[in-house]
Amino acid sequence: MCTCNKKNEYIPYPAKIESVKKESFDTKTFRVRFTDKNLAESFQYKQGQFMEVSILGVGEAPISITSSPSRKGFLEFNIRATGKVTDAIHALKKGDALYLRGPYGNSFPLEELKGKNLYFIAGGIGLAPLRSLINMVMDNRDDFKHVKILYGAKTPADMCFADELEVWKKIPDTEVWLTVDKPCDAWGCSIGVVTELWKETDVHPENAVAIVCGPAIMIKFVTLALKKSGFAGKDIIMTLERYMKCGIGKCGHCNIAGKFVCTDGPVFSYEQVKAFPEKEHVI
C-alpha cells in the first residue's frame, strides 16, 4: 500500500452517465454523476477546469468541464470523437460507467471579471469550456455588465449547444452572434470566420475582457483582431490545448517552455502567451 499520506492522484472514481445529448455532427454532451453519493454532492470545481475521463481498458483523456459550478451534483462534458478514448466514449449510453479524476488546471478568473463587459469568442467545440463560465455568469447575471457571445463554426451542423444559444440570447444585456464558414440553406446568420463578426457588431475594449477558445489558428486571428480593436494583453484570456496524459504536471507532454498547460493552465492571458518563445507555436 501507499505509504505516503496523500491520496493517489492517478486513481479515478466511478461515475454513471445520466444522459447523452448529440450536440453537433461529431460531438455529444455527456451528463455524468459520481457513483459515490458523498463524492457527487461534495465535489467542487471551477469554471475552466478539466477532468481526466477514462474508460477502463481503453484509456484516459483530459476533457474540459462544460457544466457550470453553479449547477451542482453532476458534471457535463462536451466530447468530440477524435481518438481511441473519445471514440469509445461516444459509443456509451445512459447508465454506462465512466471513471473520473480531477478537477485539474487553473480556472477563469471569475472575480476579476465581475463588473466587466464580457466578450466570449469561440470556435467549434471551443465553446465547451466557455459554456462553463457563460452559465456561471448567467446564474450570477447582475455581477457582470454586457455580455456578447461571438461563435463561429465550420457549418451549422458543427455548432454546439444550439438550444442554449437560444436561451442566452433571451437573457437581458446578452447578445449572441453566430457565423459559419459554409452555410446551409436555412442559415440566417453571418457567413465567414468568427472575426467577420467584427463587421456586424462592436467589439470595444472599454471595461471589457475577451475570453477566447477554439482551434489554434482561430485563436491566432481572434487575438490579432482583439489587439487591433484596442484590447490590452491582460484583457484577453484564452484556454490552450496540448496533448496531455496525466493532468497533474508529471507526464511532461503539455509542457510549453517552462510551464505545464495542465497545472499552470489551461487558462492563460494573451500577455502570458506572448511571453512564450515563438518556436513553441503557441498562437
Binding site: C4, E60, A97, R242, K250, G252, A257, G258, H281
Partner: protein, 351 residues
C-alpha cells in the same frame, strides 16, 4: 570522518543488509555488462549474486532512476469495474551508485514531490538508504563530464554514506543520520581508521577529478541558455537532422521523467500502465486532432536541451543535466549533451 571498511568485508555486510533491505548493487553479467539489481534473498542465489557484484567504476547503462521509476510500471489493475491500486513500497538500500546518479535521484525526488505528489515514485522511494561510491576513473571515458557539471566524481551531500576507494578498503563518509545509524547497526563490518584520513581522502578525490578528462564550459552554457535567443537555430537543426529517434538520450537520462499512460486490457480486465516516453518523438506533442505544435525535427531536439539547461534551472535552480554522459554514450549517432555544450560555448561545429 572516522570509519573505514575493508573491501573483503563488503560481501558480509551486504549479506546482513539483505535481511532488512532490498539491496540494490551493481552486478556483472556474462560478457561484462553491469546493471544494478536487488540481491536475491534465497541463500544459494545470494551467494552466486555476491560473486558477481561489481563496485568498480562500471558503466551502468541505465541510471538507477528505474529503481523508483521503472521503464514500465503498473498503476492499477481493474476487473469488472473494480480498481485495485498497485503501489510498491519496500525499504531499499542502494549500494554503490555514483555521485552523478545520486544527483539525478535528488532531482527526480523534487520533481515528483512538486505540486501533485506522484504516489508511485514517492512510495517506492519512501524508505531508502543511499551509499555512493565515488568514481576513481570515469565509467564512460570521453562522455562523463561530472567535474564540469559540478556533480562528481564525489558527492558533496545528499548521500547517506559515501565510500572513498583507498585500494584494499574504503574510507566511509557519513552524510545523514540514517547513514550513521547504518554504520552503528552494522558496526562489526566497519572499523575506526587510523592516520590522517582527511588528507588521504582529499588526495584521492583530487586525483579522481583529474581522471575526468572531458572538460566543458557547463556554467557558461547554462548562462547562455538563460537567454535562448543566443542559440542559433542552425545548431538545433543540425542535431534534429542527425537524430535517429531511438529515445536513448531520454531513456538513459537520470533526470528524464516523462511517461505515457495506456491500458493493457482484454474485455473488462486489465491494467493501467505507464511507460517511459521521450520528448524527441513526434507523437509526444501530437494532439488528437492531428495538430502538432512541435512538428519539426529541430523543435524536438531544441526542446530537450532547453528543458535540461534552461527551464529546469530557472524553476528549481538545479540543472537538469547531471553530467553523466549517458546521452552521448547511448546515442547511435554520437549526439550528446557535452557536444551540445561545446558547440554553443566554443562556437564550433562538433556534431
Amino acid at each position: 570522518m572516522s570509519k573505514m571498511i575493508e573491501k573483503k568485508k563488503i560481501k558480509g555486510l551486504l549479506k546482513e543488509a539483505v535481511k532488512q533491505w532490498h539491496t540494490y548493487v551493481p552486478q556483472k553479467h556474462i560478457g561484462g555488462d553491469v546493471l544494478i539489481a536487488p540481491l536475491p534473498e534465497e541463500a544459494k542465489e545470494l551467494e552466486a549474486a555476491l560473486d558477481n557484484i561489481s563496485l568498480a567504476d562500471d558503466d551502468l547503462v541505465i541510471s538507477p532512476k528505474d529503481i523508483f521509476f521503472p521503464q514500465l510500471e503498473t498503476m492499477f489493475k481493474f476487473k469488472k469495474g473494480e480498481i485495485a491500486e498497485t503501489v510498491e513500497s519496500s525499504p531499499k538500500l542502494l549500494f554503490g551508485i555514483k555521485s552523478c546518479d545520486l544527483k539525478g535521484i535528488l532531482f527526480a525526488d523534487e520533481f515528483f514531490k512538486r505540486d501533485f505528489e506522484d504516489a508511485y515514485y514517492l512510495s517506492r522511494a519512501n524508505e531508502r538508504l543511499i551509499v555512493v561510491i565515488g568514481c576513481i576513473n570515469p565509467p564512460r571515458p570521453g562522455a562523463c563530464f561530472c567535474t564540469s557539471a559540478k556533480t562528481g566524481p564525489f558527492a558533496e551531500k545528499g548521500f547517506d554514506l559515501q565510500l572513498v576507494d583507498n585500494g584494499e578498503s574504503y574510507f566511509v563518509e557519513t552524510g545523514s543520520e540514517k547513514g550513521e545509524e547504518f554504520v552503528a547497526k552494522y558496526s562489526g563490518f566497519f572499523q575506526d581508521e587510523s592516520g590522517d584520513a582527511e588528507k588521504a581522502v582529499n588526495s584521492i578525490k583530487a586525483k579522481a577529478e583529474k581522471a575526468v578528462e572531458l572538460k566543458i564550459e557547463f556554467q557558461k552554457a547554462l548562462d547562455l541558455m538563460a537567454n535562448d535567443d543566443f542559440i542559433p537555430e542552425e545548431k538545433y537543426k543540425r542535431i534534429g537532422e542527425r537524430c535517429v529517434y531511438c529515445g536513448a538520450c531520454v531513456y538513459t537520462c537520470p533526470t528524464c521523467t516523462c511517461f505515457n499512460v495506456f491500458d493493457n486490457a482484454k474485455g473488462d480486465e486489465g491494467t493501467r500502465v505507464r511507460i517511459w516516453d521521450a520528448c524527441i518523438f513526434e507523437g509526444y506533442t501530437r494532439e488528437a486532432s492531428g495538430h502538432n505544435p512541435r512538428n519539426q525535427k529541430w523543435l524536438m531536439a531544441c526542446r530537450r536541451y532547453e528543458h535540461k539547461l534552461k527551464y529546469d534551472k530557472a524553476k528549481t535552480n538545479m540543472s537538469g543535466c547531471v553530467g553523466c554522459g549517458r546521452c552521448l554514450a547511448s546515442c547511435p549517432v554520437d549526439i550528446g549533451m557535452s557536444k551540445f555544450v561545446q558547440e554553443i560555448t566554443e562556437d564550433k561545429k562538433i556534431m
